[in-house]
Symmetry: C2
Subunit: 355 residues, 2 copies
């Protein structure tokens, strides 16, 4: 099969064509010193003529690094993860690395299979957004020969390097902003509330509510768009309807906005809304959406660099836990008036400072 395609030239072929030993070719390719200029020229020429490309697989066998890393995210087409993926790939490229990209679809067994395939290849390291921070297989790979860095969600069953954001403080600041607006009945809506990141955000919400001595309300975990519609309808039919909403992630924010639009409930006027996770098009919605902005690209860049450092042994210390700050981007859905003609919001930096 594939007999239509010509066979690739090997280093031996080049050596023969150039009339030198294979070692000389190898040295030329790798920019080794001690190759006579003239010889090098002959070799270069032969390489070009035969369209020779070094076989990376063979090189790896001799103990070299593969110069490749793996990245596994729940969903490549998710706005947040696509930004992370792009940044990872960019950082990898800058260091001469290639990246395997796989999606787990939030399914731990698919994720495990993908990790396995990557380890086989082998890769030099893996960047992982675990679907289930408690999956048992994580324990095995965390203690394996290949360095692992988690992004966004740390493991719960083992310790590895991890890079994430200020989930709790971010959520708290978001809810505090709503409180400053005078809202009293603030409901929290999430999706995938079993994730560690979500738990942190919910905890941040509760802290803010508690600190302000406001009534603690039922929290909603939405699994689908339809569930969101039902929850919102129910909420706004009830006796004491909420006057503000805190949506703890991307998906819940979008579902809730959709539902509000359908029901003719206007954000900023009928109800305040702040979401966690900011998306580009929030400026295009009327009113524009106030949200906690995560440094997605930064997350990808930092984690990729950390992994590469591990791979190169530049990091002797044990596991590092990196937490990046988030920003509250204030627009109009919270009840604020547009500050300027531009559609961009006001940015408030959030760090986990003393409360």
């Amino acid at each position: 099969m594939r007999n239509t395609f010509p066979k690739r030239a090997t280093l031996q072929d080049v050596a023969r064509a150039a009339g030198v030993g294979p070692m000389t070719v190898s040295r030329t390719i790798n920019g080794h010193p001690y190759v006579a200029e003239e010889t090098a020229k002959k070799v270069q020429e032969a390489i070009r003529r035969l369209d020779y490309r070094p076989n990376h697989a063979a090189r790896m066998l001799t103990g070299k690094l593969s110069r490749s890393i793996g990245l596994i995210v729940p969903d490549i087409s998710d706005t947040f993860f696509s930004l992370v993926s792009h940044a990872v790939q960019e950082a990898a490229r800058e260091n001469g690395y290639l990246v395997w990209l796989a999606a787990s679809d939030e399914d731990s067994s698919i994720e495990e299979a993908q990790v396995e395939m990557m380890l086989h290849h082998p890769v030099d390291g893996i960047l992982l957004v675990p679907s289930d921070s408690r999956a048992k297989y994580l324990k095995t790979i965390a203690s394996g020969a290949t360095p692992i860095v988690t992004i966004d969600r740390p493991m719960e069953v083992a310790v590895t390097d991890s890079v994430g954001v200020e989930n709790r403080a971010g959520a708290r600041v978001a809810v505090e902003h709503l409180i400053e607006h005078g809202y009293r009945n603030i409901v929290c809506l999430t999706a995938n509330s079993h994730l560690l990141t979500m738990k942190e955000r919910i905890a941040g919400y509760r802290e803010a509510i508690r600190n302000a001595r406001l009534p603690r309300l039922k929290e909603y975990n939405l699994s689908t768009r339809v569930a969101a519609q039902e929850a919102i309808s129910e909420l706004f039919r009830s006796e004491n309807k909420p006057d503000a909403l805190f949506t703890a992630n991307n998906a819940s924010t979008i579902w809730v906005i959709e539902t509000l639009k359908e029901l003719g409930i206007e954000m900023g006027r009928d109800v305040g809304l702040v979401g966690f996770d900011d998306v580009d098009f929030f400026t295009l919605i009327t009113p524009s959406v106030t949200a906690v902005h995560q440094p997605a690209s930064e997350l990808g860049k930092v984690s990729a660099r950390l992994l590469l450092q591990r791979i190169n042994g530049e990091f002797k210390t044990s596991s590092v836990r990196t937490v990046l700050p988030v920003t509250l981007t204030v627009r109009e859905s919270c009840g604020c008036k547009p500050k300027s003609k531009t559609l961009e919001g006001l940015h408030v930096e959030v760090r986990s400072v003393a409360r």
Copy 2:
């Protein structure tokens, strides 16, 4: 370096541990027949104990396929390409393939470097969205040993398998829809107008205008957000302002919508608008945006499958050119009234039927 990590077990290690020859281990792993059940059990046991993972690189050297493909898109975080990427990765996984994902940033030289790295590894095949359909390096790789399939944009300097959509017919239908609304001054705005796909869409626009005997207007190519603001401002200050806009891609649609919002020009009322390339959040904008919907996932799936077939030699014919149909999703920005309570639009299928 990396001395903290234990060394991986090899097939030899397993053989020794199980007290058998290496071949028996190899056969067991590959599910070869003719291995005594008892022997197999011993081997499995040793594999588990040593946490052995076959080294894919070594296997490749013996002439096996790498079971990996490369995918190069301009930008992973772009909505459209992230959907394509996700679908590609899914199709690959279903066939036991892993995918290298790289971004070219619309830069042909970065793209070439990434292709080179992938060919080195080597990959079994490459899926490519060329930044520049005329780049000379394309000629070389098109005639190389590794099968290539282009997505979205075919090559102009060589022929390979390609998968794309009905750009011209889609654009024509979009503009015809505007014409049916009674608009006469329909302006076309694009970004990256040098791309083949854009040229096709512009051609579709012109066809529709010509067929309706409408005045042909200046076309705008926007390179940045700011350029969009200037163009729109200029247009709406001029004597005969446009009564409708056709934005030929994702970026131009978004930039234009932003600008219109800033200027207080309302779509559907003050000006009709139809875009090419439909994005999820178009339903959340007020008024919701009418757009030509591209089957992004389908594009990814179809191209990945085609490539895999090529790799496995299931395809003897010369290059295939696949063109997928697009759909006009009618919402409100064109001037139509919402048909129902749901936010979804009306779908009109577009194929390149006789005009």
